[in-house]
Amino acid sequence: MTNTDETERQRLARIRPGLEKRANIYRIVRSFFCDRGFLEVETPVRAPTIAPELHIEPFESEGYFLSTSPELYMKRLLSAEYEKLFQISHCFRKDEKGKQHNPEFIMLEWYRTGGDYMQMIDDTEQLVVHIADTLHLGMHIPYQGHMIDITPPWLRVTVKDAFMKHTGWDPVTAGDLSNFDIDLVTKIMPAFPMNRPIILMDYPASMASLSRINSSNPQVAERAEVFIGGMELANAFSELTDPDQQRKRFQSEIEQISKERSRTHIMPEKFLDSLMYLQPCGGIALGIDRLIMLFNDTNIIDDVVAFPEA
């Protein structure tokens, strides 16, 4: 992945511009949200319970877990009427090491009471435009030999349309979704344009995770993902506020984890208790390392992390 003949000192000298841009982007992100009335918060990196997710494996820490995402804590704050929140936090996911993955990475999450998934996408467009503007790039980001035109609104495509076009099957009506992920990364993502960001939206209801089901089309969840320059950048939800429905989904996920991963997962009770107070809101999680990769014209995460895992 990196040049193995390089010493640590040489490597750190080479990636310095990337780390300087990281610091600069943090400043821009913080001022973007502060100027719009969002409160920056910090929540535990080491937590007694985390959201059960079959495909996200946590690191255990003396009976606790290292945070895989700050989502549950963010919603507990929202439930206590903190209306607009953001956080830049360290997250940890076991075995996720690759060109665009590091087991420890930085997540930018923000939430809006009264918002929905598409409003979070609008925010993302504004945020990326604001960063590009502050870095004097205007509406075009040079990336991997392409000029990405970030003029809003970005392209939007439903999961149904994207899959029908490039794979010939519709995950929204299909019973078996076992090929969803492989088709997404090997057929759908490579077909996305490199010169425009694109939003993949309206995921199958069974992939809702912590998002709410669309009231006019119960086959889909109000969930959207942002793709830029071949990278999955962010995942947005209209947040599910129904504690009973959320408990059922968690229960089914916990059963799957126990069956497939032989791991006992604890139900996040405090989070579920808080949900009864949660007002309709939108939330989004953005991998800020990838945002920094984008503005640093690299598709290798190790180029923007001082000490990536080997």
């Binding site: 690759g98 992920d181 993902e225």
Partner: protein, 190 residues
Amino acid sequence: MATDIEDIRKNSKLLINAIPYNVDDAEFMKPGKGRAIYRLKLRNLQDGSAFERTFHSGEKVDEVSVTSQEMQYLYKQDDHYIFMNTETFEQTFLDEALIGNKKGFLKDGTIVNVLLMGEKTLDITLPNFVELKVIESAVSNKTDTVTSQAKMVVLETGVSIGVPTFIKEGDILKIDTRSGSYVERITAKK
């Protein structure tokens, strides 16, 4: 040995349908909330051909230990070509069928690279150049002299190759084993 796909790295060796492959590259891809996908670039260790294959997390593959060892070719016995590790003097063999066309450039005493999977010999790599003696030379056909490799000779290994007309029986020739072609004459017949 069944290994989790998660533990496969670049240069791991896999056995798929009884054919050994080298992992030339292993790419980890994962949708944020989805299953991990591993895209492997595989190289067939027997014929060098390459292909890509995608695996889901949770899949298992057969990992094998493949090593390369310098050995000396000793002799042929029935259908077996016998090689010896020059340090340990241990011997191993490779079937004539697996040696294929390489047998035409394999002379007793030649040092080759032997690819081993455990105790089993998979393949050999010849030195790029070998020196072989001409044992039979046809009379040159005068009309062929316009081309540089105008006549066929038989080498001591039994293989026939095209050479210039001045080559005679007893000459030692330098042969490129990759193309199987004549390079130059090392010594003239005394």
